[in-house]
Assembly symmetry: C2
Homo-oligomer: 233 residues x 2
Amino acid sequence: MRALIAYAHEEPKSFNAAMKDRAVEVLSGAGLEVDVSDLYAMGFDPVGGTRDFTALENADFFKYGKEQRVATERGTFAADVATEQRKLLACDLLIFQFPLWWFGLPAVLKGWVDRVFAAGLIYSHDMWYTTGKFRGKRAMVSTTTGGGPAIYSETGLNGDLDQILFPIHHGMFYFVGFDVLPPYVAWSVSRVDQATRERYLDEYAERLKAWQTTEPIAYPPLEAYDENFQLKG
Amino acid sequence: MRALIAYAHEEPKSFNAAMKDRAVEVLSGAGLEVDVSDLYAMGFDPVGGTRDFTALENADFFKYGKEQRVATERGTFAADVATEQRKLLACDLLIFQFPLWWFGLPAVLKGWVDRVFAAGLIYSHDMWYTTGKFRGKRAMVSTTTGGGPAIYSETGLNGDLDQILFPIHHGMFYFVGFDVLPPYVAWSVSRVDQATRERYLDEYAERLKAWQTTEPIAYPPLEAYDENFQLKG
């Protein structure tokens, strides 16, 4: 089994780094091969577009999805994209490790998705959701927040964290077929004491040890929708 | 009055470009000064971090929010960030023009927010939501989708577009104090016919002409929350 951790923090002393390191330790200890895409350290370029390709089908009118489908057939993805695609395609467990910035992924990780999750190779309309490429595989968010659980609750000022993570959970992970594990959230990491931070790391380690048996978030399967993509009544 | 369009598409022949051009025409025609941040054309770097600053308070342990607050006091934002902050601070109307990628902003625009919306300068815990810097000003999403309205409805396979846009509407715009105008969505632009695309541009123009009188999305004001950031009962 293989895990891939897509990791988006610039500071090696950060709590995100500690979480990434703990995940490597726990998953390796459980016998998995672990790949880490340390996006800041790699200098990963997150700007999706023409630079994703070694050749263009139509340089006069750039259409991203079309070029991705052509590159899938011809093997003309740029080296940085192709390398990440190989890691992604090989993984049984995908983890996004990031600080929650502006209610979502830091741009370097959002752009990893924009570029790597290419039409044709990673998804198509015959290969998405429960017919997705990654069905039977698992994905999980591991994140840190500024605020505590109250402000991210359903009646909280920032809104429900589950709703905030929907574009990642449903729109990225489930969209390409992953079973989506509940997120591990390290709340207010810059404000809590050292004992709490250590407890977070231990809780996260327990979650990782249970990655194969944890109940995924329940989403309706593709066959629950009609031909207009509406839930059947 | 000034408008700022943060525009994220690489292809000048794209429908996003046509929407951006129409917005410039309509808003200029209504007497506004219009700034366009054409992020691809500018080669905007969306990777937030140490490169945002001309000097660091603590280079041994990089803390992003802390460095942003210091840079606000000392004027040590890097030139690319400072230029965009000036445009943002000057605007009465902010428009995000982008194709919906992976249920959110393309990375180049997400990173524009990550870097430009700096702690201290653009928001703080005394200056957010209804006490935000941009209160009385207006912001709006203008986006294009691959799918149609059915798949983005509440019972649709991709989930409710309002929920998908919540991190932008509530988490970015309202967070810094903007009144949030309902989004203009050009559905399935690559699949509809030319007459429909022209209708989209005309509808969008009408929406823009009414930017000062359109009813914003209703969110509870800050004073509706208690000291734990919970909605008062």
